[in-house]
């Protein structure tokens, strides 16, 4: 069984140098949690922070907190070479729950989502059904979060709807 739903969240894109402690400390202070510095990982406590690249993070938070966080980050990091963009209007988050989710995603995603390799706290940006997505494992059940650009979200939802209804014929002989 697979369940999916759209969740209304705040999205912030954060750019800065992981090697610059002023930036890392400043951001950590505002966010109240550490930035994931290891590739393909995320941290979650107050917010969910995804590693996107060596100098790029995505902060996912409650929808009404994003604007405030952006302001705080801007204030705290003022004068530094950073970029902070509120993308809450430009991204859509979906959450999928169920043991079948890895197989469902494997239908159109080339990542190896075997639970031993992609567990809670792991994330990756990749392709899913002709869209670019940010994918994270955020709960044990497992729960996956998929973040996709708004203009592609209708397509992805259509794909999900089609896939969760159709199951292929039996595999065993």
């Amino acid at each position: 069984m697979t369940d999916f739903s759209r969740v209304d969240l705040g999205h912030i894109n954060l750019r800065g140098s992981a090697e610059d402690s002023r930036f890392v400390d400043g951001a950590t202070k505002v966010l109240g949690q550490s930035l994931p510095l290891a590739a393909n990982t995320l941290t979650q406590s107050l917010h969910r922070i995804y590693w996107l690249g060596p100098d790029e993070w995505q902060v996912v938070t409650e929808s009404d907190r994003a604007a405030d966080l952006v302001r705080q980050l801007e204030a705290a990091l003022a004068g530094q070479h950073v970029a902070i963009n509120d993308l809450s209007g430009g991204q859509v988050a979906l959450q999928l729950t169920g043991t079948d989710v890895p197989e469902l995603l494997a239908r159109a995603c080339t990542l190896d989502l075997h639970p031993s390799l992609f567990g809670v706290g792991d994330c990756a940006q990749s392709g899913l059904a002709k869209t670019n997505v940010l994918l994270g494992c955020i709960g044990e059940t497992p729960v996956y979060e998929i973040i996709v650009r708004r203009s592609y979200s209708e397509y992805l939802l259509r794909w999900l709807r089609q896939k969760t209804h159709s199951r292929a014929g039996s595999v065993s002989s």
Binding site: A39, G53, T110, L111, A124, Q125, S126
Partner: protein, 98 residues
């Protein structure tokens, strides 16, 4: 379907990447000092190596970083993937146009 090791994200399927052609072609410092022929060389002439090829790839569906790959253009076997070589770290100093 190549398996390409993004220096930042790790091994991913070819479909996550876009290709950027030969690596290490430095943009001339003063284009206007070049003859038309030299400029054409920079614009259009590529090694197109048959064998080991130093090339650019972008992890388009991932971290959006450009990086370099050394790949055999006959066997398609990838020898190495690494971060953009800066002029100082460049492994190949034959960039022609300068």
């Amino acid at each position: 379907m190549l398996l390409i090791a993004c220096p930042y994200c790790g091994e991913r399927a070819e479909t996550e990447f876009s290709y950027g052609g030969e690596a290490g072609i430095a943009r001339p410092k003063d284009p206007h000092a070049l003859s038309d022929e030299q400029w054409a060389d920079y614009l259009f002439m590529r090694k197109n190596s048959r064998g080991m090829h130093r090339e650019l790839w972008n992890h388009a569906q991932g971290c959006r970083r450009w990086f370099e790959v050394e790949r055999d253009t006959v066997s398609y076997v990838i020898k190495e993937c690494y971060e953009i070589a800066t002029p100082a770290t460049s492994r190949d100093n034959q960039s022609r146009a300068d």
